[in-house]
Structures are given as structure tokens and as C-alpha cells.
Amino acid sequence: MKTIEDLKRLREELKTKNNLRHEGGTQIIVGMGTCGIAAGARQVMTAVLEEVAKRKLEDVKVCQTGCIGMCEKEVLLDVVRPGEPRITYGRVTPADVPKIIAEHVVNGRIIAELAVGKITE
């Protein structure tokens, strides 16, 4: 059974690594309003976290947001790479997540057929 003590040990191990990055990474944002949750946002979030763990992505930040008014296109998932426009993907399923992470988050290639919006800051 995993315990808090395991986390303390893990923290000690991580201290010796110097590749920890806390800021400046890519952001992944999942819509978690009632509409998002009802459409399967938690399963999408689970898939994102699994993929981050599996691919050992050290500089990805995962957040949630509420309803932004595009309820019919939920689950919405946004990817923001530093210095690039914010891309919103719509009707995302857990099966789409590995592709979005491999193509966009890791390699910077926007998946046009899944994208529903783009915000340039």
C-alpha cells in the first residue's frame, strides 16, 4: 500500500535530479463545468494525466476551467505552448488524448481536424 512516507522518499530522489522545471512549460486545460463533466471531462483528464506519467513529461502544467459557453462541443481541451496561440480542441474523447499530446504538446503540430478555436494573445 502506497503511503505518505513513499512520497517523502520520492521527493528525496527527485532532489538529486536537476531537470525539474516548474514554470514556462506547456499548459493543458480541460473544461470541467457541469457540461464538460457530463460529456466525459473527467475521463479525458484521467487520460491526460496517464499520458503525462507514461511519457515522463516534466514540464507540462495541467489545469481545469469552467464552462466557457461552447457546451455542445464539450469535452473541450486547450493546449497552450509557450509563445504560441491557445488552441481549443472540441468533442475530445480519451482516445484522442495520446494523439493530441504526441502531436501538439510534444511536437508542436496542431491537429487541425480536432481544433475548434484559436486564441492569439
Binding site: 500500500m1 502506497k2 503511503t3 505518505i4 513513499d6 512520497l7 517523502k8 520520492l10 521527493r11 530522489e13 527527485l14 525539474l20 516548474h22 480541460v30 470541467m32 463545468g33 457541469t34 457540461c35 463533466i37 457530463a38 473527467r42 475521463q43 483528464m45 484521467t46 494525466l49 503525462v52 506519467a53 507514461k54 511519457r55 515522463k56 513529461l57 516534466e58 507540462v60 502544467k61 495541467v62 489545469c63 481545469q64 469552467g66 464552462c67
Partner: protein
Amino acid sequence: MREISLHILDLVQNSNEAGATAVKLEIIEDLSKDSMIIRVSDNGRGMNKQLRQLVIDPFITTRTTRRIGLGLPLMDMSTKRCGGYLNIDSTPGEGTVIEAMYQHSHFDRPPMGNLVETIKSILVANAALQFSYYHTVNNKTLTVSSQEISDILDGVPLTQPDVLIWLHGYLSDNIANLYGGAKDENN
């Protein structure tokens, strides 16, 4: 919503949108009383009496002032169908307490569902939120606090891959332990 754990995720997002910085989730399952109580308390902006009555009505939404939708009405409906209630206690400027009660053994009670993923999502995707989770099943209790975890992590984010793997294992093992080792309440 098919799972109580999805309602919980929804309630916590409501607290977020009310500007809460601290949210406490309590789940109290007492089989001797045949009850399951879900209580979410936050320190958000709170609601006045009028708004508190409005939020339960799905057909009155005040989208211009606040985002109010189907979340609370759906949960209200699901508790009432199961011999329970949904109670809202709120003070403007101080916060809100939502308490939902279900008759534990009720035929129509939705399953708790994947509580591990709900708690994990809340902790990871709301890094700035002070979140605490207390869960009691009969005489067994589990407490998880985002403060304790972030103190130990000392600057390492929860999204660090090895930390994510730990978190998943920690929550799965300890929540399963509450139910006597079963990974699902139906097994």
C-alpha cells in the same frame, strides 16, 4: 450524472467559480444509519438567500450575474429520488456549505463511481486550491490534504510524472482500504 463522484467534481468546480481558495470535502458513509453524506464547504463569495433558492431551480438561470446551470438541480433531484436531501447553507462573503444525503441502500442511489480519478483531478488541476478530503466508511477514515502533500513536495509540481504515479497508487490503495480492500463498492 451517473456517478456521485462526478457530482463531487461539479461541486468543487462551483466553489472554484465562487472564488474559493479552500475547499473541504467530507464523505460520511454510515451503514448502521443507512446514510451517505457528501458535504462540500468552501470559503468562496457565498450566496444571499434569494440566489440560494434560485440555484435549485434549473429553469431560472442568472447567467449574466453568475454561472448557474444544471449542476445543483441534478444533484438535488438525485438525492430526493433516494430518500435524501440537498441542503445549501451560505453566507455572503464567508462561503457555502452544500450537504447532500442519500439513503445508502436505496435502489436508485447512483454508485460512488471513480472517486480516485475525481480526487486526483481536483488535486492536480487546481494546484493553488487548499483542498482537504475526509472520507469515513463505518469505522474507517481517510484524510488527504493538499497542504500536506505540497509541503512534502516542496516545490515539485503534482504533475511530475513519478509523483502522479504515486498519487494514483496512494489514492487507489487508501480508498480501496476504506471499503475493506475492494476496488469498487460493487465488488
